[in-house]
Symmetry: C2
Subunit: 209 residues, 2 copies
DNA sequence: TAGATTGTTAATCGATTAACAATC
DNA sequence: TAGATTGTTAATCGATTAACAATC
């Protein structure tokens, strides 16, 4: 079962949650079946791309008919591992951390913030939603006891590499970083950066012209 | 001057702020000259790509020597329009909005949040940093009087399309959206989405394997 | 001069789109 | 059956990387 798959690109993976979200929306709207053509119109994407993306993982559609909304939703959840509980550690209990913590809980019940950490003594012990801010020094401990698989870094740039190193040495292999800094990670770690400053600066290019 | 340029891709534009940030760091470190080779090592990128990216905009390096850090920084700022004041409207004064508002001011002095808006009567009038939360109904007005060129949407998904439409009809052509929804915009508007939920869901794919 | 490094062209790689046979 | 739509192969497009002449 290993080593034979055609190695699916990150571009494809990043589109899957878009499809999943559309399925959820269609379900609410009472639509039970949808063609790639129609998905393309709604998402402003090429239908061939949608079919090709889905075909990497199996044959989910029916020729002449399209995709069954509930079935495709279930399949997408399976592919993305969203059919099981995922535990996340969130480091940084500033405004961003609090926003993310609320956000995440709201959106997808299966991805749960299992621990919220900060190094600031003034923040430790505070309650955020259903969580209590824990001392950052507890991180390694909690990663093990709470079976944490993903880490979110929401601390200032200056502290980010330290936090990143701690996550990795505690065994976390998947990291989402919000600090504006290029983190160094070993190649087996999956790191994604969401850098607000960089986004804004690149958008500034389009001013005027 | 119009219509002759080779049309620079978004991939290239999005790397420019990365180069800019490196120049700022090198300057602090007292490094005055750097080769694409060395930049590549520091950013974990291919040096040929770096040279090609920069060459779209001019000849900034010296053969046999490399790039002069201060000069390249200045040029990158010019290319990205960061050599002038940029005014941004931020809609949504929740935790995310407040985080973004602090973040932006901290990072890049020339991109300034010129107005912070919310529709919630309980939030209007509150002070966030140096800003006072304004009624969302003031948006159109402020876009004109404050010469606002960019909009940031940090409201719940349910309200995002309305906010987006208001920004566009007020004349804003560049929008950064944080709400987890596919917004509809006319093709002359530049829209970028930063969707935390989608990021997290796509990262979940890498669990286990 | 000899060594280093750019700017740029050509080669490669990968991702998107078109086309269509299979089939519901 | 006739019309619609998938899954997939082939064609196209675009982005990345290699290579090297020019030159500091």
């Amino acid at each position: 079962m290993l080593g034979k798959e055609p190695k699916i690109s990150n571009s494809v993976i990043r589109r899957l949650p878009i499809y999943l979200r559309l399925m959820q929306l269609l379900k609410v709207q009472g639509i039970t079946t949808i063609s790639s053509q129609d998905m393309g119109v709604r998402l402003d994407m090429n239908p061939a791309q949608i079919r090709k993306d889905l075909a990497y993982f199996g044959e989910f559609g029916r020729k002449g008919v399209g995709y069954e909304v509930e079935y495709l939703e279930r399949k997408l959840r399976q592919i993305l591992n969203l059919d099981r509980q995922i535990n996340v550690a969130l480091i940084g209990a500033g405004h961003l951390g609090i926003a993310l913590s609320n956000y995440a809980r709201f959106q997808s019940e299966r991805i749960s913030i299992a621990g919220l950490f900060d190094a600031d003594p003034n923040k430790i012990g505070l309650t955020v939603g259903s969580l209590v801010v824990q001392n950052f020094s507890e991180l390694t401990n909690m990663v093990q006891t709470k079976n944490i698989q993903m880490g979110i870094i929401a601390v200032p740039a200056i502290a980010a590499q330290d936090v990143c190193d701690s996550l990795i040495s505690a065994g976390v292999k998947i990291i989402l970083n919000f600090a504006p800094i290029n983190l160094r990670v070993p190649k087996e770690v999956v790191l994604r950066n969401t850098d607000f400053t960089t986004e804004l600066q690149s958008l500034a290019f389009y001013i005027d012209e």
